[in-house]
Symmetry: D2
Subunit: 364 residues, 4 copies
């Protein structure tokens, strides 16, 4: 239980970091969408470890194989199963973890919940699980642009690392700006400092957190379902289901709580035939439904739990002990979090597009 997401574009991910592999089954993808492995590989490559000097040196090729659901280069309408084999695993690096719970990891809670755990790596809590999400989202994005919103753009970016805050204008940031630098921030002036901070943190055997901001442009009006499946509720769930996330806010977020209604409300105006708002503190949703303005939200990522320092912990035989991190880990997950946030946003949007089509038919 708990490994499926989406009501109509339903994905089920599976796999541990050590074992036969990881993957996903996508059930509910419309037929006749052009699709082959290369569509998926692009995003897996943006997610994979070892892609740059600010990510973990683990070198996982993460090659996707489509096992079902396509025929002659198009989707069939049947479940699309995707498999990525595990490679470059070094279970011996984890031997000590078989007997000690890593602080702020899922070791203890998994053991307490299930009475067992795969201690060779993070098991199911490993970020490798997100491979399935990213693969599924590559398909989702093709559905979105081919059937619902050709110009829709999902643009997450690194907004801050530690206390270093980039100056990103959500109205003008482009994918090129973001992907042109290895930290994936939208502010060229912050790139160097961010790279330096990550390197220094890693050199110190430490880790650091940060915030991913995201703007989604050209969103159709009317997505989201009152009352529990508000678009921002599903976005929040999606983002807070990502490893290491501790917070989500949309539009004015926590800062907006300090405002009065007079200053916070977004006035409506006509812009030709189109209804717009003259400000966007709502972040693109009102009453849980998109209003056609940019969707703008932020996701908080805590510092990676694995650090190369000795820390207090307890053993699996329940005695106080110490543990020092080993293995090859990201000192900062933010650069690799960008494609993952993009993936979850895609999955939420495509599902709500299909739901809206079910309820109200094709938009005229």
């Amino acid at each position: 239980m708990g490994s499926s997401f989406g009501k109509l574009f339903q994905i089920s991910t599976w796999g541990e970091s050590h074992g036969g592999g990881v993957g996903v089954v996508v059930d509910g993808c419309p037929p006749l969408i052009p699709l082959d492995e290369s569509d998926i590989q692009v995003d897996l490559d943006r997610r994979r470890p070892g892609q740059s000097e600010v990510t973990t040196p683990r070198n996982e090729a993460d090659q996707a194989e489509i096992l079902s659901g396509t025929f002659e280069g198009q989707t069939l309408g049947s479940p699309i199963a995707i498999l990525v084999r595990n490679k470059d695993a070094r279970p011996e690096a984890y031997n000590e973890m078989s007997e000690k719970f890593r602080p702020s990891h899922a070791d203890y809670t998994y053991q307490a919940k299930y009475g067992t755990r795969n201690w060779q790596g993070g098991g199911r809590s490993s970020a490798r699980e997100t491979i399935g999400r990213v693969a599924a989202a590559a398909i989702a994005k093709k559905v979105i642009t081919s059937q619902f919103a050709p110009d829709l753009e999902i643009l997450p970016f690194v907004e801050s690392i530690g206390t270093l805050r980039a100056n990103v204008d959500t109205a003008t940031v482009t994918r090129e700006m973001i992907e042109s630098n290895i930290v994936r921030t939208g502010d060229p002036d912050s790139v160097e400092a961010m790279i330096d901070l990550i390197k220094a943190t890693r050199a110190d055997g430490n880790s650091i957190g940060g915030v991913v901001g995201c703007v989604i442009r050209n969103v159709p009006v009317g997505l989201g379902m009152p009352v529990f499946d508000r678009l921002e509720a599903d976005l929040a769930k999606g983002m807070m289901s990502l490893p290491a996330t501790k917070g989500f806010e949309i539009g004015s977020g926590f800062a907006g709580t300090e405002m009065t209604g007079r200053d916070h409300n977004d006035a409506f105006r006509m812009d030709g035939e189109r209804v717009i708002t003259t400000s966007n503190r709502s972040g693109g949703v009102q009453g849980g439904i998109t209003n056609g303005q940019d969707l703008v939200f932020r996701v908080a990522f805590k510092p990676t739990a694995t650090i190369m320092t000795s820390q207090d912990t307890v053993s699996t035989s329940f005695e106080d002990t110490e543990l020092k991190g080993r293995g090859r880990h990201d000192a900062c997950v933010l650069p690799r979090a960008v494609p993952i946030v993009e993936a979850m946003a895609s999955l939420v949007l495509v599902d709500h597009m299909l739901r809206q089509r079910a309820l109200c038919g094709d938009a005229s």
Copy 2:
């Protein structure tokens, strides 16, 4: 679609603010739980308008009727339907809204989505909808304490109103402290200033936002499901599905993104037979699963959209116009948000308790 919540303790709310009433069906409540209307009424009374001088003067008794699912004072295991009739509705106060979209309300998005809307009040986006959630949660809390966690306490409180921040210690705050004052803050020293701020804001025809903090104590270890149904993901969804919410964070939240792993990690120690952490920046969840520490989270509420000032908007015939708020509204939803946050937290917890029992049996 979108009006159901929970996988096993499944609630379906229904109803508009103007119409026959509002209510809920709870499907999945265990049998043999003592239950009558008075159990529900207590919480409805904490939620209802007109309960104090800092809430809307609308006077809605919100009397609950249990229509099914109980027999001789106990639950049957069958669906529990609860009905609360609408009263004291003044649809004429909304006549102007039939032709104009209220800024930062759901009027425009509902109309765009559905091609229709009940303009007599907020329709389905009205906070009246939360009556169903609060009623269902009153049952959920009885299930939790009678079958799973007798000492579990869910303690939300007003942490801030506008820029006024209460000084609440989540380790010591009690329900008595919170319920002893009409703003429902956990800091006696902030009560008067908060009351004054709300009154002044209302006198000015304005509104104001704030933050609800929440601590949940004596939580069983092992609740939450990797990977999509992490406990914090479901809490985030639940909270972000509440009207007027713009943000959610758990544990260290956004502030934690500025920390390094060395400072952020929660060390494990033995406390007698029990595994504890010496700090709680995780906020009670690791890898999406409760670790037995206090669950601590925060929810951002924006200022109420309805203000008694003329604002720019557009008409339903798509022309620029102006609209001035009317009717009786909360200038600040925070005091009434406290029982609603409590309700959603209860619903998330009970569902995960049932899921854990399904998967792993009764805790030994």
Copy 3:
């Protein structure tokens, strides 16, 4: 758990035969469908007891109240809650049942499952529960004919009562033929014998079973989802979820198992622009998906369990005893089963129409 049906047109029924009432919440109905109580009442009147001399003399008006989800005579797209109050209940007729389990009723199994039961009538297993289904289906039928299949006709009829078999031609039977007689058979020549059989059975304090046949005409091609949600699988589930059903077959059914492929296969031919089959042993579905031919299926109803004869049973204190039926019951449920079979078929079809629209868009 277990009181919801449908993935997109989701209904949740609630209510016991004795208690505040019975009802349904419909979540997922498209907006802008004209709807008022009279649309629902028509079908409730076809279902209600006391409607003719071959049904139970209980006189329940079963007046429906729409509590939510409509505005100015149209659906809003929000949940539609419908309430029917219980009346004419005589719980004293059931006093003996508080201490004895009625043979072939749900008394014993409910008690064993839940540790409790509402012994005043059938509780949740009462046929009164189907009121919610019939009410929801009245809405479903309006959605079907207004948005998907204007000419679709769902025509269930009584095919047999006991060993009395009507001679109904599914190709020509009409609603008028069926509704023109109180047994609701499609064969005028069988009406009198069937009425006589039911009356004689009742006079004898006995009960009798029968078969409802059903033909659905003008069904769109392409409804049904491989592999688990084949249309016939969902029809089977829907029908077998009705009280007193013991069997379901589609097309050639059990009789077809005696045939060879050469005799059983339905040849395809062109009929102008349209693909037809020259026989219909498939019953309108191939590979779980409608092929545009008539849907033809049959449902077996066992004899009513309540009979006016002393029968062996056990007491709630687990001793052998005897029990004689009391109260006012149908000696044969078949005439009233017809609108209920129609209801379940409507609910299955509308759900699959919405699912198909989600997946493939509006049919061009």
Copy 4:
């Protein structure tokens, strides 16, 4: 949509007969169940083609690989992904099918629904899809016997082939009797005639249908959920979702419709401490819930659609034409249907066991 089954023990199958393979993801399996590939292989071998002289001569080894969800020989509680590669495919045997719809196959309906189909074999409608079900069910059976009902036995058998009816006593039939003969009937006296009939049918290029009966012994009391998820409703759905099924009946089934209540009702008696019924026309369920008596049901399988005779059909360019079956097919699916019926029954039962545990805790 449509490729998942089960609410708590949720399986998602995927794969076409021609393509990368077929498989299943099981989400919701309890942890600590001993499991390795050999547990699964046993049942796949009972299902596979080429296993005897009465099945298709296609020789598919159908080797299962567990990709995730186990560790050190036990389940982890995380999703179990199972992959079976496709082999021995001869797509060239299907070239003609790319241009013609096979009568009584899913070719036409898939094409009409999706606008595309994998014409190399049956695609998603192929019986190969049931590999995923059988693999998942092998796990389900281990959960059932280790956690819920150690003595539960699921015994399907071939009851009839064409008009040849075996004489099977559901009270005494054993797995040994069924598995000792290649038709898998429970009546030794019918084996030879059934084998001869299948061989003669195949020699004639024809095919033939039949009925699988099933008895399940030592079933716990209290499984099944009113009202839509009655045990027999979920069994019916499961069985009617199998390829080639046209009918389902439980207990007295269609024959019971000819009886009166006086003859049909099952009297309760005490058998020591245990409540039993002196007959079992209910087939083990009352009010949708198991009563502890044997579950007894029957499933109708139509004759295989593929026959080696020229048949009328239409082309994909919508012209009348003829088609003669080719390739290697079962002339009678019944012997291989036995393990598949067993699989679906297991999946229904385990899901309801987990649901009952969620609702009412471990049975005391």
